[in-house]
């Protein structure tokens, strides 16, 4: 059974990178669901863990490159929270659940595709 993955992306650079992927004819694998939020600064520990608890095997946050956040530091806040969640998952010895953050620019359709692919591989490889 394919692993369920949630991709959370902001309405700025990462949304444009996803649009760029579409322009290049690249489609997301069917096991990936996406959620758009105004800025990744809104990514919260509570919500991410709820998604993981409600059936997703992995949650990937796609954020703007560092120093390129339209809202100044939303990507950095998200990075801290993702790091915190990783620590919590490790501390609680929770296996088979993954969370990560990747950074992208608006024109990096292929780059984002590679990063998403690497995350899917990690979830499928380590989450057996």
């Amino acid at each position: 059974m394919p692993k369920k993955i949630l991709l959370i992306h902001c309405a700025e650079n990462s949304k444009r990178a996803l649009s760029r992927m579409q322009q290049l004819g690249i489609t997301l694998p069917p096991e990936i669901q996406t959620i758009e939020i105004p800025c990744n600064g809104r990514v919260g520990t509570e919500a991410l863990l709820e998604h993981l608890g409600n059936g997703f095997d992995g949650v990937l946050v796609a954020a703007c490159h560092k120093q390129n956040c339209r809202h100044l530091d939303g990507n950095l806040r998200a990075e801290k929270r993702v790091a915190g969640i990783k620590q919590l998952l490790t501390g609680a010895s929770i296996s088979g659940k993954f969370v990560d953050i990747v950074f992208t620019g608006p024109g990096e359709g292929r780059g984002l595709q590679q990063k998403i692919k690497a995350f899917i591989n990690q979830v499928n490889k380590d989450g057996i």
Binding site: L49, L52, G53, A92
Partner: protein, 220 residues
């Protein structure tokens, strides 16, 4: 307010039984403000416990206005009766109150209670009061030497104060008595510095068992 910090998640998971039903109870007062045991933290902890490999039972999370008050524990009676173990995300007072109120239930602490302090900036809390039972803030410009001086000196500063910082941590810790000096100077009350304070009377502090406060005028 009372500040607290969540215990490491592995310690909390280790406290739990392997199965059964667990009620996680948050407190909407002090520990919500210091981001340790409010509604959000309850939801985070519930998610982690549900996903953990160790605990396989049922988990429910709720929050009450104050766990240190029986009046607010009444609303938990139904939930408490339906669960085997209660994990309290309140300060030590709340945990003990829950333990007293729900006598047939095991009540476990999820937090380490720290101190009475203030929220200075985002993510930074500072101890302000020891609760010593004998306030001398009138003599020290509103800054507590027992709390703010690393050595709790009644007459300071000591010789370890350097450029306004305490020798215990020259980079991050203000000298409490330097703060008092500056405040008294602003208030034109520097003569207070020359008054010798007598040794501290610790009988009003944590001495002779738990302290009690009684008010005959409000007793029913």
């Amino acid at each position: 307010m009372i500040t607290a910090r969540q215990k490491p998640i592995n310690e909390i998971i280790d406290l739990l039984p392997d199965s059964g039903s667990l009620l996680v109870v948050g407190c909407n007062t002090c520990v919500t403000i210091c981001l340790a045991g409010g509604e959000k933290e309850v939801n985070v902890l519930c998610s982690l416990v549900k996903m953990s490999d160790k605990f396989t039972g049922r988990v429910r999370g709720v929050s009450v206005e104050r766990q240190c008050d029986n009046e607010f524990l009444e609303e938990l009676e139904e939930d408490a009766a339906a669960h085997d173990v209660i994990l309290s995300m309140a300060c030590g007072v709340g945990v003990q109150m829950m333990s007293d109120y729900f006598k047939g239930r095991i009540v476990l602490p999820a937090l380490n209670t720290l101190f009475m302090g203030s929220n200075e900036e985002a993510g930074y809390w500072l101890e302000r009061c020891l609760g010593c039972g004998d306030c001398i803030l009138d003599r020290t410009g509103g800054i507590c030497p027992r709390t703010r001086c690393s050595k709790g000196l009644m007459n300071g500063p000591c010789g370890g104060s350097q450029n306004g910082m305490c020798e215990v941590d020259l980079e991050n810790l203000d000298c409490g008595w330097n703060l008092i000096y500056n405040r008294l100077k602003e208030l034109n009350m520097l003569s207070r510095m020359m008054e010798i304070q007598p040794p501290r009377d610790w009988s009003t502090s944590h001495d002779g068992g738990p302290r009690k406060l009684t008010r005959e005028d409000v007793k029913l």
